[in-house]
Symmetry: C2
Subunit: 255 residues, 2 copies
DNA sequence: ACGATATTATCGACATATGATAACTATGTA
DNA sequence: TACATAGTTATCATATGTCGATAATATCGT
């Protein structure tokens, strides 16, 4: 019952499949009296997080577009990551999509993507889309970086509903240890059929967030040699990016 | 002092030039006790609107990226506008940038942009950036669409600090009436030196928001014939887009 | 202009925010 | 390792804003 959650519960109603809500529908869905929802919605509209649309419905507002631009311009990971990501895709010299992802609540979120001009496929990952924590190479290398305590907590949240055994957690721990040793992760078809993800960890000490750099390619064009080349490309790029992001000498910006 | 504003005043501190804040700095800037700011920040972090960064600073969070994606996917104007915008830029067959903009509070916000592959310049307009209401063709055609009452209110807000005369408002009214008759607006160098904006109104009855479709080109390549061609291109594209956005495809056309 | 629907205003009871201070927790350093 | 410092959370009495049913308006569709 903290104050902000009153607003976010309304905002969280909006989704890809349900993008316009009337106040009455919100009132029903949230089981909150209409008069209260009206008040809440009014405030959200005033601040630009919602806006009135056709037929007395409301949609997500332009404030999100505005703040998203600020994150694009100011987030060090995006700022420095985007050009490197594009360079990775270029140097790969094959049809592929590059991704920059990070931990976000109990999901992994892609915060930048770069496709070759004539990309023949679209991975599920795309900027701003929360993805499952326990699937895909991109997530794997992020999990592998987490301190044991944090990992345990996430695992517990993740498997709350499902009945899972402790043994499975130990298996995960071992698997992640192997990933950590190898320095990269590869998964095949875990997220999209026919696509392979190759990911390496990003150490962004300043940014705090644990992140990863990855490439998605079609399984059918990936042979052993190419796989090796891409892993090396990713590792060296991640190295470079991690250095860019590290204790930025004297030139601190805020304070 | 409604509840949401407590949070937005914090969020509004973040800008292009000041992207990382400590709690103490916020407390100073807002003249609110640190203990209160800590509480507010904690809630914003919990919901993903802020996130901790290096040196006890906070930055805008990934929730904005998430919600921005939803607007990209679901806003009818962006959904239908983006492909048409790209088509406009393609058909222009010159070096140019296309823009889709709309009214947002007391500003005009670009919600989609499309540049030719090898664009040699960058207009100030870019997705998510609020722009002045009284400058540029893009804004002009939006103002020209507004009901008199609304225009008056915006004008008054805009000119609150500055001492302006009533006569100037009448001039604006007349100018906008001319724009309305012409069906388009052209401005030269009002926003960016050496660039020209050509804009036409978008009638998006469902979306509610008044919007515009525009092209930015370099002044030096724009002659009378080209100008004419681009205006026609914009008008026909806007026509198409407006129809896409209109209420229903019931066979009856005359209203 | 009309009826229907959407939105805002009202108000007592109640819950939550406020802000000074104290307690606690990282984080870095000798 | 222990200490110091900055950063963060907890505490608590009080004031202020919220809640939700209902009534009063405003707006929409025709």
């Amino acid at each position: 019952m903290p104050a902000l959650s009153r607003f976010t519960t309304v905002l969280r109603l909006f989704s890809e499949t349900r993008d316009a809500w009337t106040v009455l529908a919100m009132s029903d869905a949230l089981e909150v009296p209409a008069s209260s929802v009206y008040r809440t919605v009014r405030e959200l509209v005033a601040e630009g997080f919602l806006e009135p649309s056709a037929n007395a419905t409301y949609r997500l507002g332009a404030a999100f577009v505005e703040f998203d631009r600020l994150t694009r311009l100011t987030d060090p990971l995006m700022q420095m990551g985007k050009p490197i990501l594009q360079e990775v895709v270029r140097q790969a010299q094959i049809v592929c999509v590059g991704l920059l992802a990070r931990l976000y609540h109990e999901t992994v979120m892609c915060i930048a993507d770069a496709a070759v001009p004539g990309a023949t496929f679209h991975p599920s990952y795309e900027r701003g889309r929360p993805m499952p924590l326990m699937l895909g190479a991109t997530s794997r290398v992020i999990l592998a970086q987490l301190p044991a305590r944090r990992l345990k907590r996430l695992w517990e949240k993740e498997t709350l509903a499902r009945r899972t055994r402790h043994k499975q957690f130990e298996e995960l721990r071992h698997h992640l240890a192997a990933v950590r040793r190898a320095g990269y992760a590869i998964t095949r078809g875990e997220i999209d059929k026919g696509l392979v993800g190759i990911a390496v960890p990003l150490v962004a000490s300043t940014s705090g967030a644990t992140a990863s750099l990855s490439l998605v390619v079609e399984a059918k064009i990936l042979d052993r040699a190419l796989e090796h080349r891409l892993v090396l490309l990713l590792i060296s790029s991640a190295q470079m990016l991690s250095e860019d992001l590290s204790p930025a000498k004297k030139l601190a910006s805020g304070r």
